[in-house]
C-alpha cells in the first residue's frame, strides 16, 4: 500500500509538473491537429480518405505524445539531481519507473484519441473495431514511452534526448507501414521494418479501422508487448548500471 502511495504521487506530480502545463496541453492538441490537417489536405481525396489516414495519424500522435516529454523530463531531473529523490525512496526500481512512465503513457493515449475524436465529426466510424483499437493505442503508447525511457537512460543531456529520439522516430514513421505498406518497400528495407515495434502497432490499427491488417492480431499484440517488456527491462538495467553506480 505504501509503495502505491508513492506510485500515485509520482504520477500526479509528473502530470501537474509536465503534462498538464498549458504549453504542453496546447502542444498536445496542436500536434495531432496539424498532422490531421496536413495529411487530409495532402491526400486530396476528401472525406473518403479519413479511414485510410486514421491509423497513421493516431500512431504519430501517440508516438510523439509519449516519447517527447519523457526523455527530456527524465534527463532534466537526472541533471538537476531531483531524480535522486526517487532513487532514494524505499520503492522497487520497477515500480518507480512505471510511475515515472505512467504520465507519458496517459499523455500518449490522450494524444492518440484526438484524431479519432475529430474523425467522428466528419466520417462514419461505426465499423471500427474499438475493442481492438483501444488496446492497440495503449500498446503503442506503452512501447513508445519505454522507447523514450530507453533513450533517456542512454543520454546525459536533454538536447541529446531530443536528437536521439528523432533518430529513431522519423525512420520508424516511414518504415513501419504507416503511409506506405511494408510490402511496397524496397526488399532490403523490409527486414528492418519487421524489426520495428511500431510496424505491429500500425498493423493492428489498420486492421481495427479498415480491416486491412497484414499479420494476425495474435502475432501483433504479443510482439508489441514483447518489445515493451524488452525496452523496459533494458532501461532498468541501464538505470541500475549508470545511475546506481
Amino acid at each position: 500500500m505504501r509503495q502505491w502511495i508513492a506510485f500515485w504521487n509520482i504520477l500526479l506530480k509528473d502530470l501537474r509538473a509536465y503534462y498538464l502545463k498549458p504549453p504542453n496541453i496546447s502542444w498536445g492538441l496542436l500536434f495531432p491537429l496539424l498532422w490531421t490537417a496536413m495529411f487530409f489536405i495532402r491526400s486530396g481525396r476528401g472525406l473518403e480518405s479519413v479511414h485510410s489516414l486514421l491509423p497513421g495519424l493516431v500512431t504519430i500522435s501517440v508516438m510523439f505524445g509519449a516519447t517527447s516529454l519523457l526523455a527530456v523530463s527524465v534527463t532534466f531531473e537526472k541533471k538537476s539531481r531531483s531524480f535522486e529523490r526517487l532513487l532514494l525512496a524505499p520503492v522497487p526500481l520497477e515500480l518507480l519507473m512505471l510511475a515515472k512512465t505512467a504520465g507519458a503513457i496517459l499523455f500518449g493515449i490522450a494524444n492518440g484519441f484526438l484524431p479519432l475524436l475529430l474523425a467522428m465529426f466528419v466520417a462514419d466510424l461505426s465499423d471500427v473495431m474499438w475493442l481492438t483499437l483501444v488496446p492497440a493505442i495503449v500498446a503503442i503508447a506503452v512501447v513508445s514511452t519505454f522507447q523514450g525511457l530507453f533513450i533517456a537512460v542512454a543520454v546525459s543531456e536533454a538536447f541529446e534526448a531530443q536528437t536521439f529520439s528523432n533518430f529513431f522516430r522519423f525512420p520508424m514513421i516511414f518504415l513501419c507501414g504507416l503511409f506506405l505498406p511494408v510490402a511496397s518497400l524496397p526488399i532490403f528495407l523490409r527486414p528492418v521494418s519487421y524489426l520495428l515495434p511500431l510496424t505491429y502497432g500500425v498493423d493492428i490499427l489498420h486492421g481495427a479501422i479498415n480491416g486491412r491488417n497484414t499479420m494476425p492480431f495474435s502475432l501483433d499484440f504479443p510482439v508489441i508487448g514483447l518489445y515493451g517488456v524488452v525496452l523496459f527491462y533494458f532501461s532498468l538495467k541501464g538505470i541500475n548500471r549508470k545511475w546506481i553506480t
Partner: protein, 337 residues
C-alpha cells in the same frame, strides 16, 4: 524480521546503526573509496571530514543506496545493504550536498511529495509538512515555489524534506556549505535538536569547527582512506595538553626557527607566515627569556599570543592538509554551482 537483520533485533534495537567494513569503490582508474571501515552507534552524531574528492559523498551514496560498493559490506539498522542498496532505504533520510527538490513545486508541496515517496498518507504528510515548515522558519514561504527560495531557505527545506518521514538515521552531506552565517547557525541548531531527539546523524563537512561543535565522534578521510577516527574529546586530548604561542616581529624570518630551536631545546618552533613563529611546548611557556633572546638579536617584537589548538589543528596534523584551503576550495565550488 526483515532479511539480513542481525541477532533478531529490529532496526530500533540495533546498537551499531551504520556499519561499513572494507568498502571499496572504483571509478575507472580512480579508487574513490579505498577500504573504508567504521561503525556509528545508534543515536550518535558522527562526523566524516575530508577535502574535496576524499570519498565522502561516494561513501554516503553507498550507505544510502545510490551506489554499489565494488567490495566490502554495508549494514544500516542491522540490514545488509551490500547486495541490495534498497534494503534499508525506509530507515534513511538524506540531505544531499546540493538542494535537489523540485523547483516548480511550492515548499509545502515538495515536503508532501517527499512524504508520499515514503508511503505517508495524505493527512499525515500534510500535518508533518506544516510542522516542519514551522520548525524550520519557513511558514511564510511554504506556498512559494522552491525555485524562488534563497540558498539558505533551500538548504533548510532540503533538510526538512530529509526528515519528513522521521528517519532513524539522517545523512547530511555538507549541510552548511555556501550559505549565509545566520542560516548556517540555524541549521546547526536544527541538527543539534535532531540529535537530542535521538536521530542517528552521519554528517560530512569541511567546516572542522562545525564538526568539533556538533559531533561526538569524527573520522578523517583522505584520498579514499580513513586516516583517523575517534571521539572529538580523544582527538583533542594530545593538542589540549600542549602549550602553544605565536610570536610576530619585524625581522623574524624562517631561519630563526632553527636558531631558537638550538637555544630553547624544550620547545618546538615552526615558521608560519612571514614574521611569525609558532612555539609548542609540553610545559607553560615563559615569555621573558624568549623576548630577551630575540631583542638581543635585533628583532622588534610586535605580538605574542597564546593559541588554543582545535580539531582543525588535529586535522592538519593527521592529514597534512590545511583546512582553510579546503574550505576556500569548497566555497568556490559552491559559488560556481
Amino acid at each position: 524480521m526483515e532479511s539480513g537483520q542481525t541477532e533478531g533485533k529490529t532496526a530500533e534495537e540495533q546498537p551499531v546503526f551504520i556499519e561499513a567494513v572494507g568498502l571499496i569503490k572504483r571509478f575507472a582508474e580512480v579508487t574513490a573509496v579505498d577500504g573504508v571501515s567504521f561503525a556509528v552507534q545508534r543515536g550518535e552524531l558522527f562526523g566524516f571530514l575530508g577535502p574535496n574528492g576524499a570519498g565522502k559523498t561516494t561513501t554516503i551514496n553507498i550507505l544510502t543506496g545510490l551506489a554499489r560498493p565494488d567490495a566490502g559490506e554495508v549494514r544500516v539498522g542491522g540490514l545488509d545493504c551490500s547486495g541490495n542498496p534498497k534494503a534499508a532505504q525506509h530507515l534513511v533520510g538524506v540531505v544531499p550536498d546540493e538542494s535537489n527538490l523540485y523547483p516548480e513545486l511550492s515548499g509545502f508541496d515538495n515536503l508532501c511529495f517527499c512524504g508520499a515517496l515514503y508511503g505517508m498518507r495524505k493527512d499525515e504528510r500534510r500535518a508533518r509538512a506544516r510542522e516542519l515548515l514551522e520548525t524550520f522558519g519557513l511558514q511564510e514561504a511554504g506556498k512559494r515555489k522552491f525555485a524562488g527560495y534563497s540558498r539558505g531557505m533551500k538548504r533548510r527545506l532540503t533538510i526538512a524534506a530529509g526528515i519528513i518521514h522521521n528517519p532513524a538515521v539522517l545523512f547530511l552531506d555538507e549541510p552548511t556549505t555556501g550559505i549565509d552565517v545566520a542560516s548556517a547557525r540555524h541549521i546547526r541548531q536544527l541538527i543539534a535538536n535532531l540529535h537530542r531527539a535521538g536521530t542517528t546523524i552521519f554528517l560530512t563537512t569541511h567546516y572542522i569547527e562545525e564538526a568539533e561543535r556538533l559531533c561526538e565522534r569524527v573520522a578523517f578521510i583522505v584520498r579514499g582512506k580513513i586516516v583517523g577516527v575517534d571521539t572529538v574529546a580523544n582527538l583533542l586530548q594530545p593538542v589540549r595538553a600542549e602549550h602553544v604561542m605565536e610570536v610576530s616581529g619585524v625581522g623574524l624570518d624562517p631561519a630563526f626557527s632553527g636558531i631558537l630551536a638550538s637555544a630553547f631545546p624544550l620547545f618546538a618552533f615552526q615558521s608560519l607566515a612571514e614574521g611569525t613563529i609558532r612555539i609548542v611546548s609540553p610545559e607553560p611557556i615563559s615569555i621573558g627569556p624568549l623576548v630577551r633572546f630575540l631583542e638581543d638579536r635585533g628583532i622588534e617584537l610586535r605580538e605574542a599570543r597564546l593559541v588554543h589548538l582545535s580539531l582543525e589543528d588535529v586535522f592538519v596534523r593527521v592529514t597534512g592538509i590545511e583546512s582553510h584551503a579546503m574550505t576556500k576550495e569548497k566555497e568556490r565550488m559552491a559559488r560556481e554551482a
